[in-house]
């Protein structure tokens, strides 16, 4: 579990969780009839960005303030295939905030039957847009997680 900071898909381990919905597009599927495994990182991005928006620091504003958040690592556990037109609930929360990085945890379930489709984590760094060096997270975020 080292790579996922102890997260195993149980969203009770996350803080400041937020759920947003994604409808599976035809272009998301592959010849197996399932959502292509490489498309879930994009769904994580949607979940992460809607969570940041809900918490009051939308990612676009961070970029405008000179903060970039490149992804440092990602883990995805594929549980159940999803299909074209499935409505998915992307629940995202914060697993850890330390130094110049933040770990988000995700669980994606299918609206129709509640099945867990995938879960995973991403670690992102806070980086100064000009110097491209690591910086501390914004104070507002540190306060939220105190």
């Amino acid at each position: 579990m080292e790579k996922t900071g102890g997260f195993d898909g149980n969203i009770e381990l996350l803080r400041l969780t937020h759920t947003t919905q994604v409808r599976v597009r035809y272009g998301d599927t592959d010849a197996m009839g399932y959502v292509y495994y490489g498309n879930y990182p994009t769904f994580f991005e949607v979940g992460r960005n809607e969570t940041m928006r809900a918490l009051g620091f939308p990612y676009g504003r961070m970029e405008n303030e000179g903060i970039m958040m490149p992804v440092v690592d990602m883990y995805v556990r594929y549980m159940t295939p999803s299909h074209y037109d499935d409505l998915l609930n992307v629940t995202t929360g914060i697993l850890d905030l330390r130094g110049a990085s933040i770990v988000f945890g995700y669980r994606i379930t299918r609206e129709a039957d509640g099945a867990t489709v995938v879960w995973g984590t991403t670690t992102l760094a806070f980086v100064d847009r000009e110097t491209r060096k690591p910086i501390r997270p914004p104070q507002v975020l540190r306060d939220l997680l105190r």
Copy 2:
């Protein structure tokens, strides 16, 4: 034919043609078992960029020299489905160069049986990176097409 400048997939209508190969990835396919219709513009991009590289003005260098080439319009005619692992020949050439824009024509055929998979055109503008205003094409390109 107005939208395609008279091009109908016949590559003899194109100048400075160049052919490059693309292997269909699993992620390119959709639940129909075919390459998703929205992925062919990316194959056009590959063909266009390899053609520009072959002609001596790779797109990356143009951006470095302050020239952007946004796409103005695109037409795609889907002829035969292609599938996972198909090896595709992307033939690209120049249909027209006028004012501040260039029209590329494309034909994508399948290596295995020669079938035409799609053909199409894209019009791109030459734009100054700073002012974002239309500019004349590079002299080297105008010379090539004289």
Copy 3:
């Protein structure tokens, strides 16, 4: 205008129009800072599918009933760049229904300023899933367009 059946982005030329929203994802953008030109066909797909759902014949049900709708051609006119996090209104309607094919027209505008981002058309065929031969459109659709 032949390739677009006379459509020039004016949605008053369309029938049974429906508008759905798409939020631009980070993964939709490219190094120019704009939405990549090859991603708009996916937004057309979203608009088309939500329109079909609203009209009572969702695409998934058509596939279940043995009808496939491969895309025959596509035209896209790029008007104004869109950016990360833009909220886009995808208005989709039917331009023509004839024989075994249907032409959808699209206009995508930006919520923030109403600018037209792109417009375009796609022609889709009605095809029998088993025989892969052209078939007439469903009666319900023909009735809607009478």
Copy 4:
């Protein structure tokens, strides 16, 4: 290291390694000017499939023989950004083969400077196409790894 079976990007830990090249497309990049983090799984797929082809059991043939290989989990470690037009070397090898699953390890380096761009792992299951139940890997593959 549990999630990656001890792999840390050192390709000497892999067996039957194979290297293939991928050219970064404009559509692979994002507004940061880097390859979008969600596109590397597709590069892993290319590496994996070319490795399987080189070993004599191309993925397409496995599907034809009734074997599907859905991805069970994935880990990606992002080291250095890559950019439009970068030529990338995707080195893929087998980290483990056990029961009904196989673990691939990957390291992607940039041709120009040898920098490690990302490394990672994917676990795939062997599944019977009809029953969708786990099955043993093909004998040819077990022999190769003896």
